[in-house]
Each structure stands twice: as structure tokens, then as C-alpha cells.
């Protein structure tokens, strides 16, 4: 009896192996098939099927605040696109997967999107490492992709079109103004991963160009709750203002504790930590401070007014609308327009359109730099006032000359 079950188990195991082998082979085949199939459908001409978008966002896990905002802006864009007749006269289809801000999950999710769901475009995600993980899969499958949050991505491909603001765009006007208003001595602080470090590489250069000095530079791991040692070191460097790239719940802990330790007394504070999504928790600590943004719910114009009204109605929130939601809304509408102009779902045709498209976004005309794929749209200097990121000045389009191999 025992031997019998043993054998049976062995058989099952062998069968499982065979199945696994076969499915691996199938997966490999379907991966090849995917790109070929994409080419086929391009020949279809006027008989286009519905456009299918794969959406990745970390709506759970450490990047959930940003992930949910991304999803909200994206969902509203899809709703508005479909209300207006969709793309190719058919509603746009969406397949959503939560990547939990985890690169391994993002890789699997992207594989599912390109292999099983056969999507025409991937939209997402939040953290740069998960975006790169998904973008690698998309690139191999020849599926175009975009993300929508402020980014220091060291990645490009012919079909990768990030809508996020670059550190250069966020800081070019902000830094000289802060030096002028508060003084030359600047303390840099951030969480310890790629984005804050790249952000501060750019800021250091801009500070020096503006005649300022970096008097302290501190990084703490994501998930740091006790900021005493960092605050002590920043304080003893006696900066005139603080540029913070501390993100997530940490941003709230850091700013709150900095205030309690008196670090913010008569000092300037700006950077990623004063972004819209932190206002509900930090409130008065942010009022009166300046921030450069591409999107604010205070932007003038009917399109934005409609977006703000729909956003507030759909999600029942009076909090400032995060920039990533505005970027996602613009980004998805931009992509839909590119599909429509291309007249097909062929990746090359869509990317060619994206490179040339001039799209009227929430804050003004949006285009892409065709060489390094940096999204170009007007930036705005805002002053935070009772939860409103009020526009003080339009800064115009800020170019970013970073060199990237997108060919």
C-alpha cells in the first residue's frame, strides 16, 4: 500500500514536471507570438479591435497613497475617454493589476499583461524599481509603456514614454528662489533609495549654481519612524532651508518631528515632502511654503475644473488632488489620442505618434522630447495656502537635457 502511494506520487510529480515544461514552452512560444500578433493586427487597417490597456499600480503596500492616486486619475481618464466614444469608436478596455510596489510582483504582472491579456499598452507604476521591472518585460514584448509619477528613471526604450516630472523640471526654478528667499545654506534630506539620491544630485548642482552651499546631506531607510539623529545633524549644520525628498508616511514623521524639535523655526522647507498627498496630515506645517508642480487642482481652465469636480465627486475627497493623479489623467488621454491618430495598435505607429503629438493637458500643452523621452509641459510655482496649492507663477516648459539611449 505504502509503495503504491509512493509510486502514484512519483507519477504525479513526473506529470507535473511535464506540464510545467510544456507550459514553459508555451509561454516562450506565446511571448514570441505576442509581438508577431501585434504586427498582424496592425495590418488590419480600419477594422481595429478595442484598445486594451494594462494598468499597474501599488494600491496596497508602502507606496499605496501614490498608487491609489495614480489609479484614480487613470480611471477618470478612461471614463471620460469612453464617454466621448472611446478609441476607434469602441470603449477602451482595462486590465488592472496591483503590483504592491514589489519588483517581482510587477514583473509577473507585466508578463501576464503581455502574454495572457495581450494588452496594447501598459500604464504604471509608482516606484522606479517596479516600473523598470515592468518596463523590461514590456520592452521585450514590444509593448509600449508609460508611467506618471515624478521620476529619476535610468531607463529608456523606443516604446517607453514616462509622463513623470524629472528632478531637473521640479528643481530648476525652485532652488534659486529658495536661495534668494531664505539664504545660501541648504540641508538635503531624503529616504535612502534611487529617486531621492538622484533628486539631490540635481539639487546639489543647482544649489551651487545659485551660489548656495550644501551644509548637510542625510538619508534614512524607507520606514524610518524615529528621525531624532537626522534632525540633530541637520540642526547642527544650521541650514537656512531644508530640501526634503523624504516620502510616504516617513515624510509626515520627519516634518512633524522636525517641527517638534524646532528645526523648522524661521527656516524654509520644500521638496517632495510638501507634495499634495502629505497636506491632509501636515496641514498648517506646510501653509505658506512654496512648491513647483506640473499639476495643481487650482489650475485655471474648464478642462481642469471638470476634472476636479469629477474627481471630488467620484472619490468623495476635499483634500488637495495629488500631482500623480493629474499626470495619470493627462497621460492616459494623451495615449488615447496617439492611438486614434495612429489608427492602429501597432507599437511603432503609436510611438511615432507619441513622439510628435502636441496634446492640450490640464496645465497646458504637453509634448515629448523625441530624443530622451522626457515629458514637456508647463511647470507652476505654487504657494500652499489652506490646502490650496495656489498658482503664483507659470514657469513655462522646463527642458531636461539628460542623455538617454532611447533608440
Amino acid at each position: 500500500m505504502v509503495v503504491h502511494t509512493f509510486e502514484a506520487a512519483g507519477v504525479i510529480r513526473r506529470r507535473r514536471l511535464a506540464v510545467a515544461g510544456a507550459s514553459a514552452l508555451l509561454l516562450a512560444l506565446s511571448a514570441c507570438g505576442g509581438s508577431v500578433g501585434g504586427g498582424d493586427s496592425a495590418e488590419g487597417g480600419d477594422e481595429q479591435g478595442p484598445v486594451k490597456i494594462g494598468m499597474l499600480a501599488p494600491i496596497t503596500g508602502p507606496a499605496a497613497p501614490e498608487g491609489i492616486a495614480l489609479q484614480r486619475g487613470f480611471d477618470l481618464a478612461i471614463e471620460h475617454i469612453n464617454d466621448a466614444g472611446g478609441v476607434f469608436g469602441q470603449p477602451v478596455e482595462v486590465v488592472f493589476i496591483d503590483d504592491q510596489a514589489d519588483p517581482a510582483t510587477a514583473t509577473q504582472a507585466a508578463q501576464r499583461l503581455v502574454q495572457q491579456e495581450d494588452v496594447d499598452y501598459i500604464f504604471g507604476t509608482i516606484t522606479d524599481d517596479t516600473t523598470i521591472a515592468a518596463a523590461n518585460v514590456a520592452e521585450q514584448a514590444g509593448v509600449p509603456m508609460s508611467q506618471a509619477i515624478a521620476t529619476a528613471l535610468d531607463f529608456c526604450s523606443p516604446h517607453f514614454w514616462p509622463f513623470g516630472e524629472t528632478p531637473t523640471q521640479l528643481l530648476t526654478d525652485l532652488v534659486p528662489r529658495m536661495v534668494e528667499e531664505f539664504g545660501p545654506n541648504v540641508a538635503l534630506v531624503g529616504n535612502d533609495y534611487v529617486f531621492p539620491r538622484t533628486y539631490h544630485e540635481v539639487s546639489r548642482q543647482l544649489i551651487e549654481e545659485a551660489g548656495g552651499t550644501v551644509v548637510a546631506e542625510e538619508y534614512a531607510p524607507l520606514g524610518t519612524s524615529d528621525w531624532q539623529p537626522v534632525i540633530n545633524r541637520l540642526g547642527s549644520a544650521a541650514p537656512d532651508w531644508i530640501l526634503s525628498a523624504v516620502v510616504g508616511g516617513d515624510a509626515v514623521s520627519f516634518v512633524q518631528q522636525a517641527d517638534q524639535f524646532g528645526l523648522l523655526e524661521n527656516r524654509g522647507l520644500t521638496g517632495v515632502s510638501v507634495d499634495q498627498q502629505f497636506y491632509p496630515a501636515l496641514g498648517a506645517l506646510l501653509d505658506g511654503r512654496n512648491q513647483v508642480v506640473r499639476y495643481s487642482d487650482q489650475l485655471p481652465g474648464d478642462v481642469n475644473e471638470q476634472f476636479v469636480a469629477d474627481y471630488r465627486a467620484a472619490y468623495g475627497t476635499e483634500d488637495p488632488i495629488p500631482g500623480v493623479a493629474g499626470n495619470a489623467y493627462d497621460g492616459m488621454r494623451f495615449i488615447a489620442e496617439a492611438f486614434e491618430q495612429a489608427g492602429s495598435t501597432d507599437a511603432d505607429a503609436v510611438s511615432a505618434e507619441i513622439a510628435e503629438l502636441e496634446f492640450e493637458g490640464l496645465g497646458g500643452e504637453m509634448t515629448f522630447d523625441p530624443d530622451n523621452h522626457v515629458a514637456l509641459a508647463p511647470m507652476y510655482l505654487t504657494r500652499i495656502d489652506g490646502g490650496a496649492y495656489a498658482i503664483e507663477e507659470e514657469l513655462g516648459v522646463i527642458s531636461d537635457d539628460q542623455v538617454k539611449d532611447c533608440g
Partner: protein, 294 residues
Amino acid sequence: MESLVTLGLSTLSLFGFYALLALGMGLVFGQLGVVNVAHGEFVMVGAYAMYAFDAVPFPLRVLVAVVLGVALSLLTERAILRKLYVRGMLATLLAMWGLAIVLRQLAEAVFGATPRSVASPVQGSVEVLGVQYPAYRLVVALVSLAVVAVALIVVYRTSLGLKLRASIDNRDMAAVLGIPPRLMIAGTFAVGTTLAVLAGALQSPVLGLTPGLGVAFLAPAFFAVLVVRPGSLAGPVMGALVVALLSSLLRRYLTETVADLFFFAALVVLIAVRPAGLSWRLPRWSSTRSKQPA
């Protein structure tokens, strides 16, 4: 001198927080043999309770959080743990792990993922030996340590504490002597986890509230319990002091990321070298020594 005072103050404020966490975790581990991996989530519950009942005055709100903590922990013990004790440590560990996920998701569903904050009831700072320090942190550290002291007095100087210690030492024998084991187990779990809820409530004005905020507190609490003799109740408090001192010292002289690395490395080494935990009583050192064969 000034930097020494700063170091002392930051150690004190960490110690107060970790001592509450470690005492609670040690109680649960000693009495139930349960590694409460949801301990950090109970901290999160305490912090969010302070956010949710914003209209209630601060001290009263702490009380509300404590009551909520007692209710939640009794429910947890009754609904989840009671059936699992017989299945051993792994079963209870996995159950608590699951509970941690449920609590995080619940917080996200109720409060959303946007970070929240709680206003501090005590503003301003006080001067301690020439160093300005936030008044609230000092108050919280002192309140926390007072709670820990009261808890330890109850454990070592009252008949309730005697029953508790008896029950931990030998539950069957204690039961024979008329100490109700079920009540002791449920009560200890309730007290242990409520201490974590209390810690979260007290710390809430210095934290950015997110559903995942508790995750970071599991490791220091766990290490504080591990570095001392298993089953000891006062031990985790000493462990918390070691952990707080180590953390402040490392972060005083190293960058945060490197300090984190050394912190965990040091604790792993400590536990590897003395798997039975450090003993803090001199007689114990000498008695172990004398037992060694010549």
C-alpha cells in the same frame, strides 16, 4: 557634554517606547508561548484610534484606545488563539501573521492610504542640561516608564503577579493550586497587547500614520525580548534599554542606513553568542560559573 545629553535624551525617549513594546511582547511570549508578530499592528491600532477619536481630549482618548485594545485583544485570544495553542508555536505565529495582514488591510479600508497625523497635546520644548528637547517626548517617555514600573510592581509584588509568575513557570501545577489557567492566559494576552496599543497611542503625535507603520516596530521589540533570559518578565525591559542604547549610539555616529545594518548585525551576533539570553544578575553569572566542571 551637550551631545552626551542629546544622546541620553534620545535613548530615554526610545527606551520608553521600546520598554512598553518589549514588556508586552515578553508577557505574551512567556505566558502563552506565542510569538506575537502582530505586535506592531496593535501599535498601529493605538495610533489610528487617536486619529479616529479626534474630538475627545487627549488623555481621555488614550483611555479610549486602551479600552479598544483590551476589547480587540480579548476578541483575538478568544476567536483565533484559543483553538491553536495545542497546535504549537508555528500555528499561533502564522495566525498572528495573518491577523497582522488583516489589521493593516482593515486600517487601509477604513482610513485610506493617505498618511495621517495626530496633533500633539503638549507644545514647545524644555531645556534639559542646556539642550532644548520637545516637551511631549519627555512626557511620553516618563509616562511610558511609569506604566512599565507599575506593571513590574504588579508582577513581582502582588498576589496577582505571583499567580501570573506561577502560571508561567508551571501552568499545570498552578492550575492544580487553583489558579485558573484560561483566565491567566486571556488576561496576559490582553495586558500584553494592550501595552502595545497604549504605546501606539502615546507615540501617535510623533508618527506619520500609515496602515503599515507598525511593521518597523516588530524587530526592536522582538530583539529586546530575545536578548534576555526567556520567560523573564523584567528582562525585556532591560532588553529594551540595550536595544534603545545600541540604536541611538549607532545612529549618533553612523549614517542611518549603515547604522541599521550594524544594529541588526550586532543583535544577531549577540543572540548567536548567548542563545539563552543575557543575564543581568551578578549572582546568576557566578552560579553558572561555579556549575562549570573544573
